[in-house]
Homo-oligomer: 238 residues x 6
């Protein structure tokens, strides 16, 4: 299950289109969005607003037998909370993309929309333990809304910043730092001749890997310490 | 305004008692709790459950002219979101206590209730940039509920772990890692002869400092980048 | 192609057995070993001795159309050199296992045979940028030869050290730090109730993921900077 | 007690002026300077030259019943030695300003006079454990003497470098890295719309906080390990 | 014994010339090169190609009574393997130069030929534990071959990048990051008025120091853990 | 010139004895002590008390044509100030010993007298950029005075802690963290079979190296930025 954590279907078709071409034939894919909420998560407050619905969907996914879920925003909102509540693997674009990027080159740069995004994302880089692999953040000065509206301008801006990341910051790998940047990686790789990580594709393929390990070995995130599930008897898990 | 982020008044009197003795005479204090929610935040999910009410209270505090607010849990829940929504200073026990502890000695240890708490708190230490000042976490094996119930046993356990932190981990300062541990610091300092940071007192006094700087200079958290407020016109800030 | 980087077939059947149960049905698997060389790589010098043959096999794999190769030793010998010489994805147990482990919990511990192994492996943890995710190394005091000979004693020792890693070092995830430890993860997970990363399985499944991304998108390691291929005209690449 | 650690009264009036407007009404303030010594501490040797007088003043402050002392130079000269000799809280501009800055935004930049200052100050950032919160040092190319002489040019230069720190280095908070830069923060905040930490005000207000905690709880710096007082019987403490 | 790890005598005279002027009169010097192999080590694969011959020479040096050996390439190829095989001190340009540079100033910059070199060298900086002392890498865009061919252009390029390292990156010390850059340090120091570390001279003088400590005290690298010698009875050490 | 930074001749003979056996025959050695001051530097305040005399001696050394000076205490007191005032190389036991130790093994442990010493020394480890190479501090619970008095007990205690550093902390190299521990390294190396760094010998031999580079190349510490000399015209350098 791929969850677009916004209250509109605006990204569903694009995500579905991107993933249909790369998913394994034996893997099912459902792309869902939320009943209500902002159509972007540029603010921590917006993340809070959608977390409850994300968690409900992920618990539903577990009940209905999905083998893995992806929270489709590069802030990885609700990832910690989700892992607390379920046993099925849950992943998200930033965590999956950064770890894969780290195995493809010495350092990666992340192309983000606005300076507003950097503090939270840099905290996430640190939380995932990957600050040494980060060459730089590169800022496009695009809101999420403008990213959706100006696809050509967005592609040009991403190409420009990606090139600067390679030339000035020593990046060997480019990570597209927003799921709305998805869909450009193939052309960018041809132009730039450097790996470009599409966060939608990469987190989905990483979810396939985790689902496989889960169904065959029972391997999933640890339930010791950090992701321990709240006790039923306290009554807050309905 | 001191916010006990649980859905019960169980901690209000203790917090008020601890603070009455140390607050500046010219500073007003209101201790409030939430309308509903768990009486502990040991789980990320519980943090999510109470964040909305915390944010409502903090926005109310700003509207009503409070000069500062404290979110009274050592996980610092909702701190980032709160700073996004208001201009008045907002602080919380972990951030304030760790920074003050860092100015009183070479390294500090944090005394926590359970191993469950460590990953999130260690992420916070890293987020606040203070991992080099951390000597260790010391674990009491007490839930929050048991902390409230067994005050004497709690005090003995804290004293034992604090002593081990000094002797084995080289801590020069002890930080009590839960607001329910508040109230012991004076006796502990006498017994251990090492500074013991009470998170309730320290975050409240730090809030006094920030309120002072805010009212006299207009100084508060940055609204550039990380704490930028969501635009009114998007309609999610009622 | 799975390469057992030793000059004997001693590990081939075990690796094949472990992988047959977990590989995707549409993925082919060849397990190969070297023509000559030590049957363990506990020494840097032994790593040097086998690197040439590893590189020959990986170039052969690329010529013959394999979509990915795994260098089957937890030291990840020759990984950098291999990526320099070919375009197909190449992975190895330590890199793949540590990154996957990092996505399953706050910190992981690595269970190694001898203290001799720690400096090189700790350098690799740092090289992969994951030192913050490492809880500890735990040492079994088993050589590779003894690991092969005393399977039951090995399993007991691994279980004991894994338990200590959880209880004393705060590990949430256990990584088996030698491909000869492969095959125990299922039982260990049942006993310890914590994720146990089998380096053979995990690096193979990670290779499946990379092969998929390579065949569908052309994504592989960066050829900018670090993995740039030596120029043909210098004549050293036969 | 505020100690201007130079052998002249040149900074006393400015410091007193800055502090009169922000100090708590119930707090007394004495601004003192040294009997002799350089009028700037741009050199380690100059720091050495004034340390003895600083320590004498701080011991006098303790004897006379002051509740806290501030060593008024952004190098924090003699801070460690002072804490060894007395029990009353002692603070200094760099330590106090950086910790407060760290609670107001993701990263801060420090505006310093000359490149000469950076190595010692960067060592202090590391010593206080805050290197992750540092966005950059920005250099004005002003000596301390010129700072005193060209107040308008100084203000313009600070504004320019502060703006660059925000735009190019991602700073969310500006720290003025010299007590002679004090007095500009209000105007700068209006122009730049980002928090500007005045080191004189901030360290004084932090001293108020520490004095409060000291007088009410007996809390001060740790006398275990690092700040242990030399034994009287060795005879070097007159 | 100084080992030029290339299959040609092209660097021997220059190295000998540089060292004759600085070596202690009581120390003998032999400069040797390999029987075959590339004349540069810009690729990991080339490093592999020459490692066997380097190790043979170092074991020969020990048998013949040399008191120390230097592996003459700034990648420090085979250093770990060599220390495993012999008891006499072995050093190499990067390790020796960086540690000496770290004692001469706050931060150093390394002047390298191409971006290709940076990932491996940055890994080495980390491995030697010196990342905090590194101001920057500065890239000349010279291959090793071109460095040999265009000595004047090389000197100009090094001077230019060294100056930028001081002015823009805050370097206090310059490290020439290739043994083919040797011979320029005297002129550069005069022009730039900043210490310039010649990697040939510095590693040789450091080898003199180690040889002295070895012959007088028996001090050499540790044979515990990382550099433990492979057991004779396994038969791979001929 | 070797400076024993205490006001007594108590350590002179021992230092001279240790060094006579290892110094180069062509190098002159003068061991001096201070006119007055404590006979130990266990306190920051004592360091301050002796700094002036140390600096006077080092400036005298430069005037009289010495090629290098060593400040003989493992706190490295006055090292920064000294480098500011003179051009001749100045070194000290901690800096020299730690860097040499870092080239002899993966990690080192430092054997110190008391817990009091650790914060300052750990700050120095960080300042020299070597925290990653530090396995641990091991504490003897000996004052400097007792170290002088109980030589046999000291030797036994050092041997015991050194062994624990190897077995429990993974140290490959032992650094004796006080110049009063000098003289034991030979026996310890025989017993423990691991390199033991004598801080007196190592810093003196490192000074020989620096003196050699200084006299032949003019290489010494950088006078850019951190060690810039105070201007004569300000009149504080008599």
């Amino acid at each position: 299950m791929w969850i677009n954590p916004g209250g509109s279907s605006v990204d569903d078709a694009r995500v579905r289109g991107v993933l249909e071409n790369v998913k394994r034939p034996d893997v099912g894919l459902d792309v869902v969005h939320l009943a209500e909420g902002p159509d972007n998560l540029e603010y921590h407050y917006y993340e809070y607003l959608v977390t409850g619905q994300i968690l409900d969907l992920i618990r539903k996914a577990e009940r209905e037998g999905y083998q893995a879920a992806v929270i489709g925003c590069f802030y990885d909102p609700g990832l910690r909370e989700a892992r607390e509540l379920v046993r099925i693997p849950v992943t998200a674009p930033a965590e999956a993309s950064m770890h894969v990027a780290a195995t493809l080159g010495h350092k990666f740069s992340i192309i983000v929309g606005r300076g507003k995004w950097v503090p939270k994302m840099e905290d996430n880089v640190n939380r995932y333990g990957l600050e040494r692999k980060l060459a730089s953040f590169r800022i496009l000065n695009f809101t999420v809304k403008r990213m959706r509206r100006e696809r050509e301008g967005l592609e040009r801006a991403v190409a420009r910043e990606a090139r600067l990341a390679v030339e000035e910051d020593g990046a060997e790998v480019i990570v597209l730092g927003c799921t709305v940047e998805a869909g450009f990686s193939r052309q960018l790789m041809r132009r730039l001749r450097v790996p470009v990580i599409d966060p939608v594709i990469t987190s989905f393929k990483y979810a396939e890997l985790l689902a496989d390990l889960y169904s065959k070995l029972g391997l999933s995130h640890s339930k010791i310490f950090g992701y321990e599930t709240p006790p039923k008897e306290e009554g807050w898990l309905k």
